[in-house]
């Protein structure tokens, strides 16, 4: 069941496009913001609300890498793995995160705190290497700083 708040926000998104289906990416994002990820039940509810089939909506949901069709942790770590961050040594950050948190890309820590994902270029290449945690961008990150940064997320 979509909540009243979710319905209100999705209706707003529908308002700026000519037909309901066109708001589906926005709707997925709205529901994901509230529930962290898109479960099969959420997918069906959104599809019904937008008058489209769950299969059609799932074809869209699975295309976009920032729509999560599997459960994720409370915080998402996006590690930039594109060219400038590679040149500047992002692998050290990836390895540090992996050993500290005990997870690989696509995995979530046992306490549900962090999910780590690779992400294409974050568009801040003059300050590489970079990563994002939730909506926060960190630039010129060193492995030493990472522990303190992670402590900010409970």
């Amino acid at each position: 069941m979509l909540t009243g708040e979710e319905i209100t926000e999705i209706e707003k998104a529908i308002h700026v496009v000519p037909h309901r289906k066109a708001a589906c990416i926005e709707a997925l994002k709205i529901v994901q913001t509230k529930r962290r990820w898109i479960s099969d039940d959420s997918l069906k509810d959104i599809a019904t609300f937008l008058e489209m089939s769950p299969a059609e909506l799932d074809s869209v949901a699975t295309f976009y890498n920032l729509i999560f069709r599997k459960p994720v942790g409370r915080h998402i770590i996006l590690v930039c793995d594109s060219i400038t961050c590679w040149v500047m040594g992002y692998e050290k950050l990836h390895q540090h995160l992996g050993s500290k948190l005990g997870i690989r890309y696509g995995e979530t820590t046992g306490d549900d705190r962090f999910t780590m994902l690779p992400n294409p270029c974050l568009g801040t290449c003059d300050c590489a290497p970079a990563l994002m945690i939730d909506h926060d961008l960190y630039r010129n990150v060193t492995p030493e700083e990472l522990d303190e940064i992670l402590d900010r997320y409970v």
Binding site: E26, N65, I83, L137
Partner: protein, 426 residues
């Protein structure tokens, strides 16, 4: 009149100006000038005279692109700002989006007037949260001040503007894939024709322009096409946001005259190479451009000159390759990106890119075979222009084909030194 029109009004702390502050610095003058004193055709003519070329990467003439929109077509007609900056190594539109949102909105209003579009979208990549906040505030201020909405400045021109944030995927930056994404579909490219100017978003006439391109429009209208041409050192007019990243002393982003040389960017503005490293090559404008090497350092960074040197200006953000970084590793990272971001719509791209990545990985792992280099070259042809719906695969081939040309010995070394295997084919 500033020599750096796009960035001179940006504060040192990069916080965006309020609408009133922006107006005090001359902002929104072009909206008054265009809507009150110029016909849409006159605005288009001014942009045509300015020789403005698209700053998203392709460098297509903005006025020519606009000219295919039927002015008398029934509404709705759409104008879209492509703010899905995702070309690896590119970080130029971020500055304009975070720190100068009113300049973009002003450019969009004037452009929409020139095209007689009534609805506009800013398609912003998900990761640019700071920009999203700044744009939402700026759009609200522009509605409040009467620059957006019904009957702008008391004229019969009306324009709605919406911010759309994406959900990832590089493909969304491709013009027609962006339209599919805005329609709530998978971001796969569309067949052309019909071109978006005739049948674009929801089947209506649509123009998609890059953020930096649209941000030039207010200045062209306010100060004139002739002035815009004088900003440049070459035939391609205006200024350009140039960036340099990699192992140089001072990575950064600068607004400079169009046609500034690659040497000036790297040696002066970026402070030269880091201690102990030397310059080996550079991608001049993002991941999908051909390498330039030492002999090209004096090439002027404009569309024509970089093309004459065998590459593309692309986004104008340079990625430097130093002599201690593995060329094969560098190219493999790029190919990994393109393989992952391929939408899977066209077979050469979907199948070819992962194959190339596997070949490069095998080379690095000591499993390189003698026919790997000819096989890579075969791919650069099969994935090259003309075999796919969009430019993703041909773009991916640009760094590969030029790396094979300029740094062939790096590829050969992997095979000579490490591989003991016989070639797969005779």
């Amino acid at each position: 009149m500033s020599e750096k029109p796009l960035t001179s009004h940006i504060r040192a702390d990069r916080a965006p100006l309020t609408l009133r502050e922006y107006e005090a610095k001359g902002g929104y003058q072009s909206v008054r000038k265009a809507l009150l004193n110029m016909t849409p055709q006159a605005v288009q003519a001014e942009v045509k005279n300015s020789n403005l070329r698209g700053r998203g990467g392709a460098g297509f003439s903005t006025a020519l692109k606009w000219s295919f929109v039927p002015l008398d077509a029934p509404k709705p007609k759409y104008l879209i700002a492509n703010a899905d900056e995702m070309e690896p190594g590119t970080f130029k539109d971020r500055l304009l989006l975070e720190s100068a949102p009113h300049q973009l909105i002003e450019g969009m209003i004037v452009s929409a007037y020139a095209l007689q579009a009534d609805t506009s979208f800013i398609f912003l990549r998900w990761a640019y949260h700071t920009a999203a906040k700044a744009i939402n505030i700026a759009i609200a201020e522009a509605y409040e001040a009467g620059y957006l909405g019904q009957n702008i400045l008391g004229t019969d021109f009306s324009l709605e503007m919406h911010l759309h944030t994406g959900a990832g995927r590089y493909m969304c930056g491709e013009e027609t894939a962006l339209l599919n994404s805005l329609e709530g579909k998978r971001a796969t490219p569309r067949a052309k024709p019909p071109f978006p100017q005739v049948s674009g978003l929801f089947g209506k006439p649509t123009i998609v322009n890059n953020v930096e391109t649209l941000s030039c429009i207010p200045h062209i209208i306010t100060n004139g096409a002739e002035w815009f041409k004088t900003l440049s050192l070459t035939g391609d007019s205006g200024t350009k946001l140039y960036g340099v990243s990699g192992k140089i002393r001072k990575p950064g982003l600068w607004e400079l005259p169009m046609g500034t040389t690659l040497r000036e960017l790297i040696e002066e503005h970026a402070g030269g190479m880091q201690l102990g490293l030397s310059f080996r090559g550079a991608l001049p404008g993002g991941a999908s451009t051909d390498f330039l090497v030492r002999e090209h350092l004096d090439v002027r960074m404009d569309y024509g000159s970089v093309a004459a040197a065998g590459s593309r200006l692309g986004t104008g953000t340079v990625i430097v390759l130093d002599d201690k970084t593995s060329v094969v590793g560098f190219v493999k990272n790029l190919i990994h990106f393109f393989a992952q971001e391929s939408c899977g719509f066209c077979t050469p791209c979907r199948e070819g890119l992962p194959w190339i990545e596997k070949i490069l990985h095998a080379m690095q792992s000591g499993d390189g075979r003698k026919d790997d280099i000819p096989l890579l070259e075969l791919h650069t042809r099969y994935l090259g222009p003309g075999n796919t719906f969009c430019a993703l695969a041909p773009g991916a081939m640009e760094p590969l084909q030029s790396a094979l040309k300029y740094f062939r010995e790096d590829f050969e070394a992997y095979i000579r030194e490490r591989a003991s295997l016989e070639p797969l084919t005779a």
